[in-house]
Symmetry: C2
């Protein structure tokens, strides 16, 4: 085990008790709430001066809304979110509808929870309020710079030379995780795709929008997603396209000019929707290669720090909540939790063993799923469109049970065809 | 109307009466039989010294076997053919089965006729015997060199300077049709793919073959088809691959060396099957662009002369039989057929109007179908395999009703996705 070197003795050491969570995004707050619900004393530290989320809408599939329901938070999200009637896929070049999946009725029954679209800030706020209410200690302006195991406990050093110790440290510091470097030298992998987003009051949306569906337009090296937010008072648009500048190897990529050009082959309805996007900020899309171990002594990575993924399956937040739910399950199955600190070794190990294969699969399938959206040649486009149509007229479960069904059922199911 | 030029006055003119059919392949004999059954006097001329068919096995789908049944020939074909239990598609690189379509039971019921695989020579012989028995006049060693309309009747000149006249001339002279040049200046289109074939006694087939199925192995720029023939005493193998020499623009393409190389990425079972192929002859695969008109005065093109197609839908012979069946239907609906020679104008026009759109669709879908078999990149292969799996678990009718169902039903059905 490492110790902090003598020359850099910190000015102050704070004992956080059972759990220290590093990172106040959806994954960190989820994990903090879950462990607090299990009886642990939890401190959560966040680098930013305020808690918050950037971005626009996000999709919560049943595998995540089941967890919100367990936590008593589903109704709160339903109050501000939208439960779309359909998930619709269209060919962005021809306009043709290629799949219309009902998200109500049988779908909701099959997975035992609703499909919800909501503003990212709303989900974040609901989780944050629940964590505060549950008694999680929250600290802003704390930048964690490294981890060490000290006397068998987890310990992090901060940018202001403090040391925070706890029985376990949960690293939820996102895609560009500092704590991941304790476990792996890997770097974020740029996809070459960049996202522009916009969430506008519905009166400002000029196009005749489908207000009951999540609509995904699939184009050559681009796609566009549209759905309503906030009880239909807002309309969310996400445009994701491949940057030619990235392909040329340039440092700066994904400009507004590239945005306009990327959709030139698409139907007017898609091109018009670009007006609904914010232009002051864009999101280059990254993920990472799956890694086998998220555990170093008493450090555990969760959420994007552990398994950042491309957004094509809309599972980033959902998988972070799955992480949290499993922490809660493992705590519940542990005798004398959280007093028995030695139990963390098996909790973290079991967590890793359970979650790593699943999230690696989600990471890999998300990449492949995106590639299949963005095909640009005649035969692949035809195969994609025919596949979507065939999927729509067959039992959709063969494609989505592995992802959306509850974990017991998942063990019996598999995603036919996309295994890796 | 043209007449033969004075300087080349033929030595002899033969009046064939109602119908002259040019070409003694499956299409020509089928048309001759159909029109003879309708009461016409029919003469069929064939360039070769003997009637016959080269090649190995052929597949007769229900749209064709229904016609054989109408003609009382289905039982004869069943005596020598095989009704496979399954049509199986496999990924030639992974060996994975991606589709298993039952060709018995519901399939046979749905289409009202069996799916049969048989030796080409057997089908040809059965049709030839039926045509002779029905009273078609057969002449070998007749090479037709051109068509003219003389006194409102059809007329062809032959290589030995004879002239054959009839109320109508049916041009069934195949892919490299001489008579098509009366209507179109188009040329056969090389696909760059070449076929090797083999039909061996079953004892010589070393690999453990599936004796109840048509098995199609799909590989990168290649495929391999295997099925039993002659009550399971023979085994048919067809290997079709893209020639690198063709892609390089060379005159000679599709060598035996290319054959071996083309399957190098495939599973051992596929590579071993190449030993079952004859090596002395290969078939470069051609089709033509669809043309709108097959009619010039009293000349009508049918079969490959009218609509040559790539073999991916296994419909070349089937569509030729559909041609024949429609001729029979139109004759039956014509008052005073065949005495009323003026009725040929509407018969040929109606035939063209009915058949050209359908066969153009088969020609186009066959090309697309082949391209989707031969994809070589990761995502297109994945989409193809997933599509085949999805099709296998959904109502297969949405893909094949347009082709196999009887023509009345066909008008209500369409091939979802592959419209052109």
């Amino acid at each position: 085990m490492e110790t902090h070197t003598p020359g850099s003795t910190p000015s102050i050491t704070v004992d956080c008790g059972h759990v220290l969570v590093v990172g106040g995004g959806i994954g960190g707050i989820g994990a903090a709430l879950a462990l607090r619900r299990s009886g642990a004393d939890v401190t959560l530290v966040e680098r930013a001066h305020e808690f918050g989320e950037v971005g626009a809408g996000l999709q919560m599939a049943p595998n995540a809304t089941r967890i919100l329901e367990r936590w008593g938070l589903l109704d709160k999200l339903l109050e501000v979110g939208v439960t779309p009637q359909f998930m619709v896929f269209r060919d962005a070049v021809t306009g043709e509808e290629i799949l219309r999946q009902d998200l109500q009725g049988e779908f909701r029954e099959r997975f035992g929870a609703p499909y919800i679209v909501a503003h990212r800030t709303d989900l974040h706020r609901i989780l944050l309020e629940a964590a505060v209410e549950a008694g999680v200690t929250m600290k802003n302006d704390v930048t964690v710079t490294g981890y060490a195991t000290v006397d068998g406990r987890g310990s992090v050093r901060t940018a202001d030379d403090s040391v925070l110790v706890a029985d376990a440290v949960i690293g939820a510091d996102g895609l560009r995780s500092t704590l991941r470097s304790e476990l792996s030298a890997d770097e974020p992998v740029p996809s070459g795709y960049v996202a522009y987003r916009g969430a506008l009051p519905i009166s400002e949306v000029t196009s005749a929008a489908d207000m009951e569906s999540v609509v995904v337009w699939l184009g050559p090296h681009c796609h566009l997603v549209q759905y309503p937010l906030r009880k239909g008072n807002m309309f969310n648009t996400v445009a994701v396209f491949q940057s030619p500048a990235f392909l040329r190897g340039e440092e700066e990529w994904g400009s507004e000019d590239e945005l306009e050009e990327a959709y030139s082959a698409c139907v007017p309805q898609v091109r018009a929707a670009l007006a609904n996007l914010g232009r002051t900020r864009s999101w280059p899309m990254f993920d990472r290669e799956p890694i086998e171990s998220w555990v170093k002594d008493r450090l555990l990575l969760v959420g994007d720090a552990a398994h950042p993924m491309l957004q094509y399956l809309a599972q980033g937040a959902c998988q972070a909540l799955e992480d949290a739910a499993l922490l809660e399950d493992l705590a519940a199955a542990t005798e004398a939790f959280p007093a028995n600190a030695a139990a963390w070794d098996s909790i973290l190990g079991d967590f890793n063993a359970d979650r790593a294969p699943r999230t690696a699969r989600v990471q890999r399938v998300a990449r492949t799923w995106g590639e299949s959206w963005h095909v640009d040649q005649r035969i692949p486009k035809l195969l994609r469109n025919m596949l979507f149509k065939a999927a729509g007229s067959s039992d959709i479960g063969q494609y989505i049970d592995w992802l959306y069904a509850d974990s017991e059922a998942t063990k019996e199911l598999s995603f036919q065809g996309v295994q890796h």
